[in-house]
């Protein structure tokens, strides 16, 4: 028999799958935009919620993947199936970069608040570097980096076979994101239930004790860091594909703090709450930003304060728990 929690998850995904049938493409594209941010948040939930390692570096990996995808696909625009292998190579670059950063962090003995400082520094260094690449000398092959204006004009994800084009846009892009989210949530759930997940959860409590049981904690944390970078990279590539551009501001201080707020407010220990919470919070930010970007930032800060003080397990997680328990209460009547 299905657990009530699973019924809730199925209901949410059924609703998401019905949206293109009920709303026009403008709304579908908007909701695609909200969903693309869930992958960076899920990556943070993995490294922070399960591993106890707070990283501000998610946006660095987001930007790296976005820029890598743009650079590769612009340079090889005429090569067959560039829209398929360019995002894959960009993801590989991001995961390898994540593993390298993770190696120096964990094998270098950097832990706790210092990880937050180092990862934030990496993000800001990347942003600053990319912002000063406006001159014509800053180009990789045919791809001009364009400084603060960012890159645009890259071929989209997809493939062109003779006269037929299968590009990721509109409703197709929306469904791709929903199915990808379902698949990745399932993978993350499997990781959580695995021995790897158990070691990661335990290392959050006491690293040395886990080592003393014969597990190589540093290696496991490095792999997890790389996986979380990969998830952030998925968001970066989908973002670049969605809007057809990528700018250094996607790696700025505000951008770096947003995933932390979304994940904390949603409930960092529950992947599905993070997925749902991220969609809702990005929607709220977007709606407020129409009247001025500062309102969204102020509200997000306020939500973080309220969450930290009153809902340490996350507002969305608490709401989900309430809804699930409420339905079980009704069933008993």
């Amino acid at each position: 028999m299905l657990k009530k929690n699973n019924i809730f998850i199925i209901l949410v995904f059924t609703t998401l799958l019905l949206i293109p049938l009920l709303f026009d493409i403008y709304y579908v594209n908007n909701i695609s935009y909200f969903i693309l941010w869930t992958f960076i948040s899920l990556g943070l939930a993995l490294i922070w919620g399960m591993g106890g390692i707070l990283s501000f570096g998610q946006t660095a990996f987001f930007g790296l993947a976005g820029y890598s995808f743009a650079i590769i696909s612009i340079n090889f625009a005429d090569t067959f199936a560039v829209g398929i292998w360019a995002p894959i190579i960009a993801l590989l670059i991001t995961a390898i970069f994540g593993a390298i950063v993770g190696y120096f962090l964990f094998y270098g003995g950097i832990y706790d608040v210092f990880i937050g400082i180092v990862t934030l520094a990496i993000t800001l260094v990347l942003e600053t570097f990319m912002a000063q690449t406006a001159g014509p000398e800053w180009a990789i092959g045919n791809a001009r980096l364009n400084g603060f204006n960012g890159m645009q004009g890259m071929p989209p994800i997809g493939i062109k076979i003779s006269d037929s084009k299968f590009y990721l846009s509109g409703t197709g892009q929306y469904y791709f994101m929903v199915f990808l989210a379902m698949f990745l949530l399932w993978i993350l759930y499997k990781i959580k239930k695995s021995n790897f997940g158990l070691i990661l959860l335990a290392s959050k409590e006491d690293r040395m004790r886990v080592e003393s049981l014969g597990h190589n904690v540093k290696k496991i944390q490095m792999i997890t860091f790389s996986l979380s970078a990969l998830l952030a990279g998925i968001s970066g590539i989908l973002y670049t594909n969605w809007g057809g551009y990528i700018t250094p501001s996607s790696m700025g201080l505000v951008a770096a703090s947003m995933p932390v707020i979304w994940v904390a407010a949603s409930g960092k220990n529950d992947f599905f709450s993070v997925f749902l919470g991220c969609i809702l919070l990005v929607y709220i930010s977007q709606t407020l930003a129409i009247n001025g970007a500062q309102y969204a930032i102020i509200l997000m800060g306020f939500i973080l304060v309220i969450t930290t003080r009153y809902f340490p397990d996350g507002i969305i997680f608490m709401l989900k728990k309430y809804l699930v328990n409420k339905s079980s209460f009704k069933n008993k009547l």
């Binding site: 021995n195 158990l198 070691i199 959860l201 335990a202 409590e205 006491d206 040395m208 004790r209 886990v210 080592e211 003393s212 049981l213 014969g214 597990h215 190589n216 904690v217």
Partner: protein, 231 residues
């Protein structure tokens, strides 16, 4: 050949020498107690052997293999088990999950039977954080012994335990020793030492002060003088 050989190991913290050229041998099947007053260097030596502290000089051999350059987890995988001073169980995990972290190859029935020794067989789904202090200590010992390592280090396994709990801890260690596991135990409690010790090493001011059987140690006036203040 001894199971563990510690050859003239030294550890300095700045200008302070915590462990000074200590040499020790632990034979297979032994239950060796490491005792001494506070500041004698027992815990530092313990941490040097398991790889938490690096050595300034000397070497450590396990089964004839040099291990001083290996990490903690690498040493454990050679056939060691470790229990630290404070109970280091994972409070947010169940007893069963705690044990799963310590072994990959045991079936549910084997885990159940193993937990009987510790009186924890019916609490498998309980969170470790909800256990009493005594049960946490036993779970901690269970975690380092379930994979049946050749050598187990216990740092103060009876700290905070009642007389009855201390006695039961001694019985648990003795039964594991009878199955072939060798123990090195850092302890202050003389009751458990009298109950199960096969050999004792006394440390004082970072140096090996005396070595012998429990009876020899307890009847040595100099040891009693430095350790208990009895002359």
């Amino acid at each position: 050949m001894s199971l563990l050989e510690i050859g003239s190991v030294t550890k300095r913290f700045g200008g302070f020498t915590a462990v000074d050229k200590v040499s020790l041998k632990v034979n297979k099947g032994d239950i060796k107690f490491l005792i001494g007053p506070n500041g004698a260097g027992k815990s530092t030596l313990f941490k040097m052997i398991i790889g938490v502290h690096s050595l300034n000089s000397g070497n450590v051999l396990f089964n004839g293999k040099k291990i001083e350059k290996l990490s903690l987890s690498e040493r454990i995988n050679l056939g060691m088990g470790v229990k630290f001073q404070a109970p280091s169980v994972f409070n947010e995990l169940t007893i069963k999950e705690n044990l799963s972290l310590a072994t990959k190859s045991k079936s549910n029935q084997e885990i159940f039977n193993f937990l009987k020794k510790f009186g924890l067989e019916n609490d498998q789904e309980q969170l470790a954080g909800d256990l009493s202090h005594g049960k946490k200590q036993w779970l901690d010992i269970a975690m380092c012994s379930i994979s049946e390592p050749e050598l187990i280090f216990l740092d103060e396994p009876t700290a905070g335990l009642s007389y009855e709990e201390t006695k039961k801890t001694g019985e648990i260690v003795k039964s594991l020793n009878e199955k072939g596991i060798t123990f090195v135990i850092v302890e202050h409690n003389m009751d458990i030492l009298k109950q199960i010790a096969k050999s004792v090493a006394v440390l004082h001011l970072g140096k090996l002060f005396f070595e012998g059987t429990a009876k020899e140690v307890l009847s040595n006036n100099q040891v009693m003088n430095i350790y208990l203040g009895i002359s």
